[in-house]
């Protein structure tokens, strides 16, 4: 069954049709929430709430845009509300987590390498969380979730040109934040 038909059935109150839509989008919606919160349970709750909001607002959805875009917009707005309420937009001082960025010189084992990479990833996410909200969201949508410029423009209801400039600024800010941890090692840059 096509997505449009599922949405139309969902609008008529068909629970099974809505369940199909949940199964289809649950991973994407959850990971979108997770990329902005970095907390499994919080992201799970937020993703659920986004689907519940979508269910009750489904009758207002006009089918002109993609259901997924509409759902991601609901998710982003819901996560934004959560972050504002929880005051997660505060500046995180990266110096406090400096120790996790040290690279181990005798790093040869796969597990150690993975562990180190995970630590570096955590550092990058901490740096993202220290950015203003709109830059966190654009980085999450483009560089973590892999949405195209066009999709991001639709989700955030902004012009594609704004996506380009905002993303450019966000990446620059992120690099600046991480600059103290980026060290040149053997001709290549590592953290």
């Amino acid at each position: 069954m096509e997505e449009k038909e599922l949405v139309q059935l969902g609008q008529k109150g068909d629970e099974e049709a809505f369940a199909v839509l949940v199964r289809k989008y649950r991973i994407k919606v959850f990971n979108l929430a997770y990329s902005l919160t970095r907390n499994q349970n919080v992201a799970d709750d937020l993703a659920q709430e986004a689907f519940i909001k979508a269910f009750f607002a489904l009758s207002k959805f006009n089918l002109k845009s993609e259901f997924g875009t509409w759902l991601y917009r609901i998710t982003v707005n819901h996560v934004k509300d959560y972050l504002r309420k929880k005051g997660r937009m505060r500046r995180i001082i990266l110096e406090n987590i400096k120790e996790i960025s040290f690279i181990q010189e005798d790093e040869t084992m796969r597990k150690e390498r993975e562990h180190a990479e995970e630590q570096r990833r955590k550092l990058v996410h901490k740096a993202i969380q220290a950015l203003p909200e709109k830059y966190q969201i654009i980085l999450s949508l483009r560089d973590i979730q892999g949405f195209s410029y066009g999709e991001i423009a639709k989700i955030l209801k902004i012009f594609p040109g704004t996506v380009d400039s905002r993303l450019h600024r966000a990446r620059k800010m992120l690099r600046k934040k991480l600059a103290p941890f980026l060290i040149q090692k053997g001709g290549s840059y590592e953290m």
């Binding site: 973590i144 991480l178 600059a179 840059y189 953290m191």
Partner: protein
């Protein structure tokens, strides 16, 4: 080309948005600029870490938990709407009562002014002093007293007078 412009091209190159000419410009600049080479390495490291991340799964029974919550909210929504209506009903009913009272006051027919006994008698073309004359002319004290009593009661009750 300046490094600032090159950085813009460099960032767009990570999204495969560069035209052939822009690609060439970028590459030729990078070959000669160590600073921009370093920037490219840094961006590659950062974006590589972000993009390599694998998708995670939400907690188990994700759908079932959503369905349960939806049913609970639907029940709550009924009560909420009842409560909302009852809250709205109080001022609305008060307003209606007020309006009704105003309508009654404004559109009720004016009360007919009650005429005094003397006026009634005058309208009937009778002498209003007739009673007084009768009273004064009465010779019997008992009758006079009875007439006075009935006249005094006249103010409160519309009763027939005592005429012996």
């Amino acid at each position: 080309m300046k490094c600032k412009k090159i950085e813009k091209l460099l960032l767009r190159s990570f999204d495969d948005l560069l035209k052939d000419e822009e690609k060439e410009n970028l590459e030729s600049h990078l070959r000669s600029c160590l600073l921009c080479q370093a920037k490219r390495k840094e961006y590659e490291t950062i974006l590589g870490l972000l993009r390599k991340e694998e998708d995670s799964e939400p907690n188990p029974y994700f759908l079932e938990r959503i369905q349960t919550k939806i049913k609970e909210r639907e029940k709550d929504a009924v009560w909420t709407s009842v409560k909302q209506w009852s809250i709205r009903a109080v001022p609305i009913s008060l307003l209606l009562v007020l309006l009704l009272a105003m309508v009654i006051i404004l559109f009720s027919p004016p009360k007919s002014q009650e005429l005094s006994q003397s006026e009634v008698l005058l309208l009937r073309n009778l002498n209003p002093l007739q009673e007084t004359t009768t009273l004064l002319e009465e010779e019997k004290v008992e009758n006079k007293n009875m007439m006075l009593i009935f006249t005094a009661m006249e103010e409160k009750n519309d009763i027939r007078r005592y005429f012996p």
